[in-house]
Symmetry: C2
Subunit: 88 residues, 2 copies
């Protein structure tokens, strides 16, 4: 079974109220080193077989059309979860 | 400026309604290879200096206390965005 990981983040120029809430709460809880927080989405898509180039191509198109809003969000990465350094 | 990336996913045994909605919508849009989807959160935390071990330790504690609900979510990874293979 293969798995594709897709990361979506709000565009830098877009206000991110969830990130703002987190960055305000961190120092109150004693975490004093962080100056900014952005909150985005992470998707894990399962396939029965291996993660082929065809699977990745479908995942890229799904990321741009269904999983993100291109007006306010960037697709940061689409990758095979099993690949070296996939951060999964 | 350094950046820490934190990934949080719903635990496997927890129902994920957003993921279910996505997996239902994918075939209707012509994406036919995916059998399951889970939706989680991705955080990017900025620090003014470098991402030291102290920064990562604060990020790990923040991930476990503020950024995830340990009853229903797993912290999948906490890493320096600049590190090789960080998937950022």
């Amino acid at each position: 079974m293969g798995r594709v990981v897709i990361d979506v983040m709000p565009k830098p120029e877009i206000l991110d109220p969830q990130g703002k809430a987190v960055v305000g709460a961190l120092p109150r809880l004693g975490f004093d080193v962080f100056t900014g927080v952005r909150q985005g989405k992470r998707f894990e898509l399962e396939v029965t077989g291996e993660v082929t180039e065809e699977v990745l191509e479908q995942a890229r198109r799904a990321a741009e059309t269904l999983l993100s809003n291109p007006v306010i969000e960037d697709v940061v990465s689409v990758r095979d979860a099993a690949a070296a350094g996939a951060g999964a």
